[in-house]
């Protein structure tokens, strides 16, 4: 396929879609399916066939649209009109929706999400731009929306150093949580000496409460592949690996299908878009180890070893897979790349904050009215995300904290809700951006119990290589358990804090270094809760079952 063919294909696809009077996009992701999306699609199919509308109405099963608590979702796209989004659709309302859009029936407004709903209007979708709007299993859908245009532009208009410059200039930073400037990393790998180089997409999304990578891989797999191919061209790699978390079989299937489709069209494989650039992508399936999100452990796992980290430096950019320079970026980071290249770095850099450009996807969940995925410009405040997009706390309860960054992050209290979200802002509050988990907690959550929960996670996921993490998490967990049981002594808090500091400073990898974060951040903002457990044998949130200690029990 040549660049001109790509354009022709996009035009033909758009023309073919313009024929339909209405396109009904049924969200077919897990939450909507669990809510009955299957029955909705079935009812629509029957109705469309029964009324002989097959030539006028197209039914599409799409990936995730985002407002997951309101599913099943159906989006109606009509030429010359703004998309109409319907929520909590049943087979009956689906027919009413079809009536309105295809047969001039009365509006089905009762089920329509208001176009002014902040959940829709306040988002800026770059990585998620196609999610919920295309059939992830059709490469043509992606191409019709400008897909692979970024790769074509890079291959034929830019040289590798210019691509790296564009990425650097866009201000894009690692979306996996570290926030390292992506363009710098690319340039490091490009300049690293080595005949063979690798590109790796990290889709080992292990943070509980985060699922943006799954959504992106399931709903718009080609975007990730295109981002990887552009990276391959920029750094001089001919082989890419996409490491998919074992818990995400659908993502792996879709990616596999997408890779085959792209290879068939000459968008991956040898002589991509008839250039001299060859790029092949292989999938590697994770086998259930959180630590493999750490880049050196991830590489060990790709090479078929126990997923244990090794000390850095050397960084993967110097010495990665099989000793070769290796570029590792998160799936979401790659998801931003195609648009940066095709629309230009200035366009991307215009959004966000001076230090953090662009957008970030968050997985809103926990005690919040609207759960789901949102992509917002960097710099939006926590309050806006919780109350405007999230719709506040259900049942009129009081907001207590938002947990960001998963087991490596922390809890942020109500008094800091007006903090703008970016890497540094969250870090100053003792949390991290992480991969974008955003768990809202109300007054029924006990902060000590939450800290204990995360510590249990870390001790279970510790690889066991270094002593501070392997043995330290066990001891910290024991102290936290004692506190939640009301059996802690007065010196336990001090002991806990000392352990936290030691494990943070001396662990080998990021997992261990960040394991104390949930404890340190809750100690910082909710110390009174720890003290109530220890001194008053009382759980302010009413979660912990405390049994008073007998005499000198430890």
């Amino acid at each position: 396929m040549r660049v001109a063919d790509l354009k022709t294909m996009a035009e033909q696809e758009s023309a073919a879609l313009a024929v339909f009077r209405a396109r009904l996009l049924v969200c077919y992701s897990a939450p909507c399916l669990a809510a009955g999306a299957d029955a909705v699609r079935e009812a629509l199919e029957k109705e469309v066939a029964g009324r002989g509308l097959a030539a006028d109405v197209q039914l599409v099963s799409t990936g995730c649209l985002g407002p997951c608590s309101r599913g099943p979702m159906v989006t109606v796209s009509q030429p010359g009109q703004a998309d109409a989004v319907y929520e909590k659709v049943t087979p009956e309302t689906a027919v009413a929706i079809l009536d309105h859009h295809a047969s001039q029936g009365p509006p089905a407004d009762g089920f329509r999400m208001s176009p002014e709903n902040p959940f829709l209007t306040r988002q800026m979708r770059v990585a998620l731009a196609n999610c919920g709007l295309i059939d992830p299993e059709r490469i043509e859908d992606y191409i019709a929306r400008g897909g692979y245009g970024g790769l074509a532009h890079a291959l034929h208009e830019l040289d590798p150093s210019e691509v790296c410059f564009e990425i650097k200039h866009s201000g894009l930073r690692g979306r996996g949580g570290g926030g390292y400037p992506t363009g710098l990393k690319w340039n490091l790998v490009r300049k690293a000496p080595g005949a063979k180089k690798y590109v790796v997409a990290n889709g080992d999304e292990g943070d509980p409460g985060a699922y943006m990578d799954r959504t992106l891989m399931e709903s718009d797999p080609h975007r990730v592949l295109e981002g990887m191919a552009i990276a391959g061209y920029a750094v001089g790699a001919e082989q890419g690996f996409i490491y998919v978390r074992g818990e995400y079989p659908v993502a792996a299937q879709r990616l596999d299908k997408a890779i085959k489709a792209a290879e068939r069209l000459g968008l991956l494989g040898s002589r991509v878009l008839e250039s001299n650039f060859n790029f092949r992508i292989d999938i590697r399936i994770g086998a259930g180890a959180f630590v493999c999100g750490e880049e050196t452990a991830l590489m060990a796992s790709i090479m078929g070893l126990r997923g244990q980290p090794v000390p850095r430096p050397p960084y993967p950019a110097q010495k990665g897979l099989w000793g070769c320079p290796t570029l590792i970026n998160n799936v979401e980071t790659f998801g931003n790349v195609p648009d940066i290249v095709s629309k230009g770095s200035d366009w991307y850099a215009a959004s966000g904050t001076p230090k953090c450009r662009g957008t970030k996807v968050f997985a809103l969940c926990g005690q919040v009215e609207n759960t789901g995925l949102v992509e917002v410009p960097m710099g939006m405040t926590l309050r806006e995300i919780v109350y405007d997009l999230g719709g506040g706390i259900p049942g009129g309860r009081a907001f207590k904290a938002v947990q960001t960054g998963g087991p490596s992050g922390g809890c942020i209290p109500a008094s800091h809700l007006d903090t703008p979200v970016d890497y540094e802002g969250l870090q100053q509050l003792g949390s991290i951006m992480g991969s974008g988990g955003f768990i809202v907690m109300d007054d029924r959550s006990c902060m000590v119990d939450v800290a204990r929960f995360f510590m249990e996670f870390c001790l279970d996921e510790s690889c066991g290589k270094c002593v501070p993490c392997r043995a330290g998490t066990v001891q910290m967990h024991r102290i936290l358990t004692r506190i939640t049981q009301g059996k802690a002594g007065p010196d336990d808090l001090e002991k806990l804090e000392a352990l936290c500091e030691m494990v943070r400073d001396s662990s080998l990898c990021g997992l261990g270094q960040a394991a104390p974060n949930p404890v340190l951040s809750t100690l910082r903002w909710f110390r009174d809760e720890y003290e109530a457990h220890i001194h008053e044998k009382r759980c302010p949130a009413g979660v912990c079952r405390l049994t008073p200690s007998e005499g000198g029990e430890r």
Partner: protein
Amino acid sequence: MSIETPTPESHPGGDPRYKLVDRALKRFQYRQDALIEVLHLSQETFGYLGEALLTYVARALKLPPSHVYGVATFYHFFTLKPKGEHNCIVCMGTACYVKRAGEVVEALEGEFGVKAGHTTEDGKLSVSIARCLGNCSLAPLLVVDGEVLGHETPESTLAKVRAAVGKEQAE
């Protein structure tokens, strides 16, 4: 040593399932770095990674047995023991936890007399815990025999798992 050690050339007892493993080995050109992929496929085929199977894979990939065993036990996905006829995975990610998935686990453990991560003595049911299945808007979430169920309570869970293992009929 009493355990039969198969070689790539001869399958023990002519078990046809080894052909599927062979196919995976060939697809990855017997590359040692494909160990995890091969283990995935082997487990899919056999349901678990038994000793003979691990030995077979180690020989085929020319890897030390202890290395293969080390990898197979490092990752939580691999199981060295047969799983139950039915399985129930309870998600214990953060979102599920704050929505009290812990109570669901307790209910299951109490009802079926099995600790999470284990299989009942009659081999009927395996209960396991997942570290976030990435469907947080459905919290608390479980997967019973491959079916995703959302917004669960201890009562609804017990009802569904009882139905799955057909316990009511037995009583």
